[in-house]
């Protein structure tokens, strides 16, 4: 009996796979999202100071000012561009440059005579992600240039204390590591939710689900079939993306266990696909579903900790976000992939995802028959 049921669920799931296969646009979008898009985002959308644009106003035109202008190096900065003083406002207003360094006249002379001249660094503070950190890099760079110009490097040795800062897990603080994996997580969230939920609504709109319900099939069987089949598609895509794009093309060294990451993805997909089905039982039509999903997704994505740190949010919001499986999965993937954490560390996250998944599953099950009777 049980075996028969499992067989039935397997068969119903295989049917889901055929459904996806029959929509070429959908297949194309899936592939595109997990390959090209991940690559582009990881390579280009940086949250750390990389390729920051700097302009220099050189009113001194001295050896030292030239040295300073040439000292902004890759990978942190793009080569500095010399602009005229009257363009400061324009370039900052249009966002053409984020940093403008203003070196005053007689700067070199003043430095040599020990008069402590003032260099002004103008920062476009609307570029929150790099304004603060970039400004402190720039001031370090200028300080170092001036010092080495004065041949004062021995001053550093004279410091009474030697501060050694090391970043573990990602020594160069390279954010493409971070962005790549977070983009995979975001893709999993969006695609799993839409794929599963929309598949249910389409079956409802085409009357096929009703037909299933007069056969010896339980609502739970239909749901589990949708969950495993759509989950499988996403997990395969995510695994390939991790191995081929993230490890292969992007050369991100993955510290932790990939098996554990994929294992965690199973838990996560269970909760997300259940959520997708639940949302589909709430929505009466495809347009409603689309709108509902995008609203939920934006919140789950932006506030999961994959974009800005969770600790920066107000306490009440942090607590609320604990109900979102994405929050747990983001911290799970960071722990596993970057910090090489094992099950002994991440089990609470796994448990949370499973618990949330069960809650969504039960809610969906409770609504399932009702929704089909009501909306079809």
């Amino acid at each position: 009996m049980m075996l028969g049921r499992i067989h039935r669920i397997y068969r119903l799931g295989v049917k889901e796979l055929y459904s996806v296969k029959s929509d070429p646009v959908l297949v194309f979008l899936l592939i595109w999202a997990f390959t090209f898009m991940i690559y582009q985002v990881a390579e280009n959308a940086k949250m750390e100071v990389i390729d920051a644009s700097v302009a220099v106003i050189d009113e001194d035109r001295s050896e030292l000012s030239r040295r300073i202008a040439d000292s902004f190096l890759k990978p942190y900065f793009k080569p500095a561009v010399i602009i005229s003083a009257d363009r400061v406002d324009t370039v900052l207003d249009t966002g053409e440059f984020i940093f403008v360094v203003d070196i005053p006249p007689k700067f070199e002379a003043d430095v040599l005579t020990g008069q402590m001249p003032e260099v002004q660094v103008n920062v476009d503070a609307t570029a929150m992600s790099i304004a603060g950190n970039g400004a402190s890099y720039i001031s370090n760079i200028i300080t170092q240039e001036v010092r080495s110009f004065l041949d004062q490097t021995e001053l550093i040795d004279a410091l009474p204390l030697n501060l050694v800062v090391r970043a573990k897990f990602n020594p160069n603080l390279n954010s493409s590591w971070f962005m790549a994996v977070m983009q995979i997580v975001n893709n999993i969230t969006l695609l799993a939710m839409i794929l599963t939920g929309a598949a249910l609504i389409r079956e409802r709109e085409h009357g096929t689900i009703e037909h299933l319900l007069v056969m010896p099939v339980r609502s739970a069987d239909i749901m589990i079939a949708k969950i495993w089949a759509n989950g499988l598609i996403i997990i395969v895509a995510a695994a390939i993306s991790l191995l081929v794009i993230v490890e292969g093309a992007l050369q991100v060294p993955i510290l932790g266990s990939k098996g554990l990451f994929i294992g965690g993805a199973v838990f996560y997909l269970f909760s997300i696909t259940s959520l997708g089905i639940f949302l589909a039982t709430l929505a009466g039509s495809m347009p409603q579903f689309g709108l509902l999903t995008i609203l939920i997704y934006i919140i789950m994505n932006l506030l999961s900790g994959s974009t800005t740190p969770l600790e920066s949010m107000p306490y009440w919001l942090q607590q609320t976000m604990q109900f979102s499986p994405s929050t747990h999965y983001v911290s799970f993937s960071q722990a596993v992939l970057y910090r090489g954490a094992g099950v002994e560390i991440v089990w609470p996250e796994l448990l949370a995802m499973f618990g949330i998944g069960c809650a969504f599953f039960l809610l969906a099950l409770w609504r399932f028959r009702k929704a089909i009777v009501r909306f079809s």
């Binding site: 049917k15 646009v25 595109w32 999202a33 898009m37 582009q40 390579e43 959308a45 940086k46 949250m47 750390e48 644009s53 900052l92 440059f97 700067f107 402590m116 920062v123 476009d124 503070a125 609307t126 603060g132 400004a135 720039i138 001031s139 001036v146 010092r147 009474p160 204390l161 030697n162 050694v164 573990k168 390279n174 971070f178 975001n186 695609l191 839409i194 794929l195 929309a198 598949a199 389409r202 085409h206 009357g207 037909h211 007069v214 010896p216 339980r218 347009p287 689309g290 709108l291 509902l292 995008i294 934006i298 994505n301 932006l302 920066s312 949010m313 722990a335 910090r339 954490a341 028959r369």
Partner: protein, 912 residues
């Protein structure tokens, strides 16, 4: 006026293919004007295709189609004559809008044909009176019975007083009374406008018998033309049905023998199905009103009644699909329990619409159901093979159901329903839309099942000849069973000539009892003959408004969507305003102090006193340090080596180690900056204390000015970006399903068949969403001004204009996606992925555009979001005005235009 002389449409050597399948094969036909012309023939022979070609709804592939004296392949002629043609597609109310009332549906069609308010009012009143729909004018089309839907469809078709009326199976699935009324109505309309030509495709031969002229089709070819009388004479047949069969090639004729129902052996009289006072209410509306009947094992029980009278709901209650509000149903004496899997195995059900998987082949569908019913693997092949043979599906076993004619699909559905050898079959209108020959074949199967296998069959139908084959029938109307009995008993009871008449008289009696029928006015008013073709304008405001008004009304009727669309962005803005923050505070850290001297404690005091850090319990060894960083509990750890104090005092520059968690680079960078700041403060203090002077680190002063956002608060920088984000995601999602949904639902036909142009269609559909998105913009703007206290520094006017252009663009983006994709799922998928990824990453929301490289910069440039980001951030935080930003406004306007015109190119005015 040449075309008025003899032929309303001339078709010359037309070929039409769907994929590999030829629907029309070198067809030439001249359809006379000023009369009722009919197309008859089985399903899938090309009747609908031919009508669609004549109506100009479908693109001509090969050959020539001339309608109303002009070539339909000529764009200008087609455009000009669309106002003179009315086209009613197959399917009940397929081109109507279910949430709109009768009146509103008519208003929509009136506007599409450019009628002004006075004309609309007069014609709608006329048509409603003529069809008897006046008293239901406010009822939504979705809640009408099938007959009423078709009457409304006819009104919509006639509102512009066409010269050519094209009806594709208008009475399929409509009860006899409504069917009669429908043809009477057409008759009256023709009397009123005698010059109007009518072309009808029908499956009812008795209807076709009344037409002036007929063309019989088979296998994509014309097999005969002429008046019904001529056809009968030519073939020597008595009835038209027989005449048609005689016309068929010999090989097909042989299949045809009279369906004979052998008498049922009187069984033990066991009751297979019993309905006891079944009632179903939807709110106030009673769909099924205390329905009771009993069906014996092996009996064929027919269920007759108009559409929407409660037949389907009753059947669904008997299968357990719908819970009954009151009453109970029993199968084999056992009260039905929807959760009981055993009962489900004994029942086979076939729903009214096709409900098998279109993405699976015929064989795969059968196989799936075999597995669902857990038929042992070794039996599956044989059983499926015998079903394929029995229902003549072997030839199409690998085809997808969508490519098959309705008749074949219904056979497949029946095969699926029989797969598990059920004892009860519940069939909801299994033969609607199936041609007479296929129907007879279908019935032979049913009779065999009943008489040979003792299967109880409960079937609903509109065909009287089918009803006559049933052992007993019940007549249902408005939720009530009017009569139950054998067909002959019922005819006798009403002293009627036929079952059809008996049915009509039962209905009339019942209608007379409950609702006084409105006296249908016969308006035989001579309408002025329309002048010949007038030139149609490319853009007509009224036609565009037709779509705008309709779309707005549909939106207002869908409060869930409306509320989500208005409240959703507000909630998101509040959440993000607080939630998205780059302000790193309270970083958790811990100390591994291997020195434990006064000096080390002094250094650490600087950390514990800072508001940026939160100290956790100290670490005792290197292993613990590793573990706690790994677990994510700590964002950094401070390691002080043994002998730190001594070395410091001795000036030996001891090392202090900081270990950062680099998993989130942004946080790590910020933490590093903070740590360096704390250490240099400490060093300064140390130097002051020792040498009396602050530590001189730099020979120059570096003054950093944070412009636009001196407080360096994330809110100021983030919220303008959130406006940008939400004003693309929500509006594009709203419009993304717009066009593709019309394609899936079938109402796109109205766009094909009426003179509305692409520009009017797209613009009309877009307008309400532009307005809605602008409401979003205003509410978001007010929110950041008053809730988040973000000061507005620049020009509000520049922002307001920019926002208008932006929402125009973003709604246009949704329309573009919608015009491009084939399914609603793909539309939602594409919109969310493209909009989300591009906006979040490449539009300057979180990462500045100027730092983007390569492909990302390129992608950003070809997307509207970064331009509005400039305007939004520029006006709100950077104090900018038009002179600084105009190029962004221009770019947005260009995007709006490009999206619009690409969408217009993708939306075709004809079906392929």
């Amino acid at each position: 006026m040449k075309e008025l002389i003899d032929h309303v449409a001339v078709v010359t050597s037309v070929n039409h293919k769907y994929g590999d399948r030829a629907a029309l094969d070198d067809v030439s036909l001249e359809i006379p004007s000023g009369c009722m012309a009919g197309l008859i023939g089985p399903d899938g022979v090309g009747k609908s295709t031919l009508l669609a070609l004549v109506a100009g709804v479908r693109k001509v592939q090969k050959g020539m189609v001339e309608t109303l004296g002009g070539d339909m392949q000529k764009w200008s002629h087609r455009r000009d004559c669309l106002t003179r043609i009315a086209y009613m597609p197959q399917g009940l109310g397929k081109n109507l809008y279910p949430t709109l009332s009768i009146q509103e549906n008519l208003e929509f069609f009136g506007r599409l044909f450019g009628l002004n308010r006075r004309q609309r009012r007069q014609r709608i009143a006329d048509l409603l009176a003529a069809t008897g729909l006046s008293s239901f004018a406010g009822r939504p089309a979705g809640k009408l019975s099938g007959g009423m839907k078709q009457k409304l469809g006819l009104c919509c078709a006639l509102i512009h007083e066409p010269d050519l009326l094209i009806l594709d199976e208008p009475t399929t699935g409509v009860d006899p009374l409504s069917r009669r009324q429908f043809w009477e109505l057409i008759g009256r309309m023709r009397k009123r406008r005698p010059q109007m030509s009518v072309i009808v495709a029908t499956a009812y031969m008795e209807e076709a018998d009344q037409f002036d002229w007929l063309a019989a089709l088979d296998d994509g070819q014309i097999i005969a033309t002429g008046s019904p009388f001529e056809l009968k004479l030519q073939t020597g047949a008595e009835t038209l049905e027989q005449a048609f069969i005689n016309l068929l090639p010999d090989c097909k004729k042989q299949e045809r023998t009279e369906v004979i129902v052998p008498p049922r052996k009187s069984d033990d009289g066991e009751i297979a199905i019993a309905a006891i006072g079944l009632t179903k209410c939807y709110g106030d509306f009673v769909a099924v009103d205390h329905v009771s009947f009993e069906i014996e094992r092996g009996e064929i029980f027919g269920f007759l009644g108009s559409n929407g009278c409660g037949k389907t709901t009753t059947m669904k209650m008997l299968t357990g699909l719908q819970p009954a509000t009151e009453g109970e149903s029993k199968l084999f004496g056992k009260t039905l329990n929807a959760r009981d899997m055993q009962t489900r195995r004994r029942v086979g059900y076939m729903s009214q619409s096709f409900s098998l998987y279109e993405e699976l082949s015929v064989y795969q569908n059968l196989e799936l159901h075999a597995h669902i019913f857990q038929i042992p693997n070794r039996q599956i092949r044989d059983r499926l093979q015998s079903l394929l043979e029995r229902f003549e599906l072997d030839e199409v076993r690998d085809s997808k159901p969508t490519s098959l004619p309705i008749g074949v699909r219904q056979r497949l559905q029946l095969a699926v329903a029989l797969l598990h050898r059920p004892e009860i079959l519940i069939l909801d209108e299994p033969t609607s839309g199936v041609d007479p020959i296929a129907r007879d074949g279908f019935w032979r199967h049913l009779i065999e099942l009943s008489r040979k296998d003792g299967v109880t069959i409960f079937i609903s139908t509109h065909f009287m000849n089918e009803a006559e084959r049933c052992d007993r029938i019940s007549l249902m109307h408005a939720g009530k069973v009017l009569a139950v009995g054998t067909p002959s008993d019922l005819i006798r009871e009403k002293e009627a000539a036929s079952l059809d008449d008996a049915f009509v008289s039962f209905l009339e009696q019942d209608i007379a009892a409950i609702e006084e029928p409105e006296a249908v006015r016969d308006i035989v008013k001579e309408a002025a003959p329309k002048s010949s073709t007038t030139k149609e304008r490319i853009f007509e405001l009224r036609r565009m408004l037709a779509y705008t008004i309709r779309e707005t009304k549909e939106l207002l009727r869908d409060p869930i969507r409306l509320i989500f669309a208005i409240i959703g962005p507000i909630i998101l803005m509040i959440t993000f305003g607080y939630g998205i923050s780059f302000d790193v505070e309270d970083l958790p850290y811990a100390v591994l102090d291997q020195d434990q001297t006064l000096e080390s404690r002094k250094l650490l005091e600087n950390f514990s006193g800072s508001r940026y850090f939160t100290e956790h319990d100290p670490i005792s060894n290197a292993k613990e340090l590793e573990f706690r960083l790994r677990s994510g509990e700590l964002k950094f750890a401070i390691e002080i080596p043994p002998g730190f104090g001594q070395n410091l005092l001795a000036g030996r520059s001891p090392e202090v180690g900081i270990l950062l968690d680099g998993a989130m680079p942004f946080r790590a960078e910020t933490a590093r900056g903070y740590v360096q700041g704390v250490i240099s403060q400490y060093l300064n203090a140390l130097s002051l204390q020792r040498r009396g002077v602050p530590l001189q680190i730099s020979p120059a002063v570096i003054e950093t000015r944070f412009l636009y956002n001196q407080a360096f608060k994330s809110t100021y920088a983030i919220t303008p970006g959130v406006i940008m984000l939400l004003c693309i995601l929500i509006p594009s999602m709203m419009t993304a399903v717009g066009i593709v949904r019309e394609k899936e639902m079938g109402s796109i036909t109205n766009f094909y068949a009426t003179p509305v142009t692409q520009v009017e269609f797209l613009l009309g559909k877009q307008l309400p969403y532009v307005l809605l998105a602008y409401i979003n913009f205003i509410s978001l703007f007010l929110l950041i001004m008053f809730l988040f206290d973000v000061p507005m520094k620049g020009s509000f006017f520049a922002l307001a204009v920019g926002a208008l252009l932006y929402v125009w663009t973003t709604t246009g983006f949704g329309m573009l996606v919608s015009a491009f994709v084939k399914s609603q799922i793909a539309a939602i998928f594409a919109t969310s992925i493209v909009a989300m990824v591009l906006t979040m990453n490449f539009s300057g929301f979180l990462t500045p555009v100027s730092t983007l490289g390569g492909g990302a910069r390129f992608m950003g440039l070809f997307f509207p979001a970064p331009y509005f980001q400039q305007i939004s951030v520029g006006t709100i935080t950077k104090a900018l005005d038009f002179p600084d930003l105009w190029s962004n406004h221009v770019s947005l306007a260009l995007f709006a235009l490009v999206f619009f015109f690409v969408a217009a190119l993708l939306v075709r005015k004809q079906e392929k």
